[in-house]
Amino acid sequence: MTKKQQRIYAIILVVTGIAVAAALTLFALRDNVTFFYTPSDIIGANAKNIVKDRPFRLGGLVMYGTVEQDGKRLRFIVTDNMEDIAVEYEGVVPALFREGQGVVAAGTLDESGLFRATTLMAKHDENYMPPEVAKALKEKGAPHGRVPEEYP
């Protein structure tokens, strides 16, 4: 074996070893790296093995027609189209918070199943367009499932 071949084999060895370890790590990280849990991770038949009596983050879509503003208090329902969880929040609402948009709330679940959020973050999706396009899309009936909510 020449020196160069030896080097190539050494590098292949190191790279595959690391790749296998990384693949295993990634596989294992699946549940632990989740930034937020969706309602069906928390309740229902497919609920996951997570600690529910301490703060966690709940994510999903703000269900249409469920946002109620009562003074400073905001109430709405987060859904992943399988399960729903009602959320109560008091504080600064991010500019992008809208019905039908993605949202991530951090807080705790109380005994009655109400999620008491201490922070509220809006999740932006991958669609970017000027208002006129959004309006036109809305009028045409939103082709690829996008329903821009700015112009009802």
């Binding site: 296998v20 632990n32 301490r54």
Partner: protein
């Protein structure tokens, strides 16, 4: 195989002669674990939340601390150069060193871990599962650490450089270890992260010494 056993025996003997150095890692581990409750207050709610993570971070820092000395003496006195010239597989030497290093620095750490669990307000019936997580965690930290130590061999800035190199690779180990202890702490099934820690160890145990040997060889060519 005798290269593994010889290296292991020699390093254990050398290590036992320098008692101060062996005690450094567990003492550091204890100090870090004690500083957090002192700084955050002994509120059980806070400790329940933070305890498992703190234990994992303390183990990580303790594993990092004496790492830069791993190959230093053998490099300085020419042992590594001689081994490179000899036909004996360098990976066995690396494996022997890692095993000895684990026995000298991590085993005492595991021994004091139950004590630290008391400090962090964790029930002692969790000791078994905590050790079950800390064992692969410390071993994985050492295996990744030896690769880093080989890369940084011959530098002056030792420890800080090593921390910089290794933190990216320590992060997944830390996430698992902490989550296993955390799930157990909250009375949930910790099987998944534990299983994966051990699976990771099964891969890293043969792969890391080979990689480290390749790096030592490559750097000294």
């Amino acid at each position: 195989m005798s290269l593994f056993a010889d290296t292991f025996r020699r390093d254990i003997r050398l290590g036992l002669r320098r008692k101060g150095q062996i005690l450094m890692a567990p003492v550091f581990f204890m100090m870090v674990s004690v500083l957090f409750p002192l700084a955050m207050g002994p509120d059980p709610v806070v400790l329940k939340l933070a305890g498992p993570g703190l234990l994992a971070v303390a183990a990580l820092l303790a594993a990092l601390l004496p790492l830069d000395t791993l190959f230093r003496d053998d490099d300085a006195d020419g042992t590594i150069d001689l081994l490179l010239l000899s036909p004996a597989p360098l990976s066995l030497y690396v494996a022997g060193k890692t095993a000895a290093y684990w026995v000298l620095t991590s085993l005492p750490l595991l021994a004091v871990a139950p004590l630290m669990m008391i400090v962090l307000d964790m029930p002692l019936r969790m000791a078994g599962i905590t050790l079950c997580a800390l064992f692969p965690v410390t071993f994985l930290l050492n295996l990744a650490g030896q690769t880093g130590a080989a890369l940084a061999l011959g530098t002056r800035t030792g420890s800080i450089l090593l921390a910089l190199l290794l933190i990216p690779f320590y992060i997944p180990i830390l996430i698992f270890g902490a989550s296993a202890i955390d799930l157990a702490r909250n009375g949930l099934d910790a099987g998944m992260p534990l299983f994966l820690l051990w699976a990771l160890l099964a891969v890293a145990l043969p792969a890391a010494p080979l990689a480290t040997a390749a790096i030592l060889k490559g750097l000294n060519e």
